[in-house]
Symmetry: C2
């Protein structure tokens, strides 16, 4: 079975379970708002990492499904609140929640997903001690995501941001949730503390790699695949790792923060970034995090689930969109 | 020791523990925002109910202190997000968080308090099974608070709201957190399921009574005690139980929703509400919830803590501000 099929098999289960664990209760309009993003589908990479991690340590994938749903709901909660904060009005090609339900509705839908996620986890049929470990990890992870988002909002107001600060930001904002996905799966799958910690590092490091690669995609992926205009990060003056490395190394990007930059101007900036070595630097950094992350799996015995985790990691950093 | 001293003794412990469990970490400005409301003090009624409930079932008050702090943080999180949604710019006589840190900052500070609360609970030194019960209860409670706030926001847009709908709203928005406070204290204090459930009902019912009484205070308490202009709920056209009962019973309140109503107009509305029996109806309802709530404590053996819980309940519904 190839990777897409493996992912599809699990995302179908997650889709069904979302309907079960997040029913349209009273007040219906609130619950419709909470289901808006989860129902829009997606690859469900985080739930897949959680389920495969459970399998890879010898556990059962089906029994961790509620935790996989909880993780996906936490992810969706962060997207909803981030979109309010970043004033992003489009998400997955649809109007963002705060466009459809207003700021108050979007804040509440996010808060509801947040608490539902912890409800679902805490009511799972599993060893209380393990579940409590998962609650502690997930709540810590949510705090870190808030810290990361705070830094991200703060960076937009600042002129200079160091690469280290940027890496700290994406680590908190994005990669810790992949770490938590892998570790929750490992804990519930019955892994030792040592293995569970290694799984966390696998998720965290490949998550950083994934986020760095995301910035490259925006620049080099053809528009027909990207689904939006190429170079939008540059036009918005977004402080990505690419932009920071260029700015900090004297590579002048005329189109940076220029909302009406032409495609020719973007192309010439990309050429400059290739020539100056910025893109090579960023690609190498993404590759290094990827390799370090995959190496963490050496602690595991070989299994189809382990192979699929490696494939997911590779896919995350080779995908074009 | 009188009630104020009993409360003070416990609020001092809670104040100290907030500093311990919510230190000013990196990013400092985020954590300063999270500490802004908790540091403004307050009577800490909810933490007191939690600690006293633990004592009243034979448990130890000090060991449940982290849970008391978590509950207070959840309460503060709801205040911060509510103020954004309700566009209330003043809280406890100070600028609201979203005035000081912007909407993005206030959303994030609230989200951080939310996850910190679950971090604190899940890392407590107590029986995992009990802690997991507390996490399940608190996450369910947070979902209900979101449901209640959703209804509250929705009511402001509607012409007609039934008394039953109003009661459902305040039950979810306010009283379930008192219920959770009492039950978490009882669970961690070692109560049986039956006693813990009764404690929940004590908190829930007296919480409803408290919220109903809150609306009376706005009308009848002298301004110098209230600290704001009397009758502000009427001027704002707020759908309180008083307003709903009057509207649904043909009592015409000329000053309802009239932002510039004079004090004379407010006084004449209050007189009408007295004559028509609306205030008597609302006071009786508050009294009935209070009595029902206090009766739930009959299951407990007599103790100083039980007496203090009764005093708190009476205080909540006799206080003038």
């Amino acid at each position: 079975m190839d990777l897409i099929d493996e992912l599809k098999k699990r995302s179908t289960l997650v889709d069904e379970s979302i309907q079960e664990f997040l029913p349209i209760d009273h007040p219906e309009e609130l619950y419709r708002a909470t289901r808006y993003l989860p129902d829009a589908g997606g690859k469900r990479l985080r739930p897949a990492v959680l389920m495969l991690s459970a399998e890879a340590v010898g556990g059962d994938s089906d029994s961790v499904l509620p935790a996989a749903v909880a993780l996906e709901l936490i992810h969706n909660f962060t997207l909803i609140h981030d979109d309010i904060m970043d004033r992003d009005d489009i998400r997955r090609g649809m109007p963002a929640l705060h466009v459809k339900w207003g700021t108050a509705g979007a804040i509440l839908a996010g808060d509801t997903l947040y608490s539902r996620a912890f409800e679902i986890i805490s009511k799972m049929d599993a060893d209380p001690q393990k579940l409590l470990k998962c609650v502690a990890l997930l709540s810590r992870t949510c705090t870190e995501i808030c810290e990361g988002q705070w830094l991200d909002v703060d960076f937009e107001k600042r002129d200079i941001v160091d690469v280290d600060e940027y890496l700290e930001m994406i680590e908190n904002k994005t990669s810790v949730l992949y770490g938590a996905a892998a570790k929750v799966g490992a804990i519930l799958g019955g892994a030792s503390d040592e293995v569970a910690d290694a799984m966390y590092e696998f998720g965290r490091l490949t998550g950083i790699s994934f986020q760095i690669h995301d910035d490259v995609i925006d620049l080099v992926t053809p528009e027909e695949i990207l689904g939006k205009s190429r170079g939008s990060d540059l036009r918005e003056g977004k402080k990505t790792l690419i932009a920071l490395h260029a700015l900090n190394n004297g590579v002048e990007l005329e189109c940076f923060g220029k909302a009406d930059a032409t495609q020719d101007e973007i192309d010439s900036a990309v050429a400059k970034l290739e020539e100056s070595g910025t893109l090579a630097y960023v690609r190498e950094m993404a590759d290094n995090y990827l390799e370090d992350g995959k190496n963490k799996l050496n602690l595991l015995e070989d299994s189809p689930a382990k192979d699929t985790l490696v494939e997911i990691a590779d896919y995350m950093v080779s995908r074009e969109y």
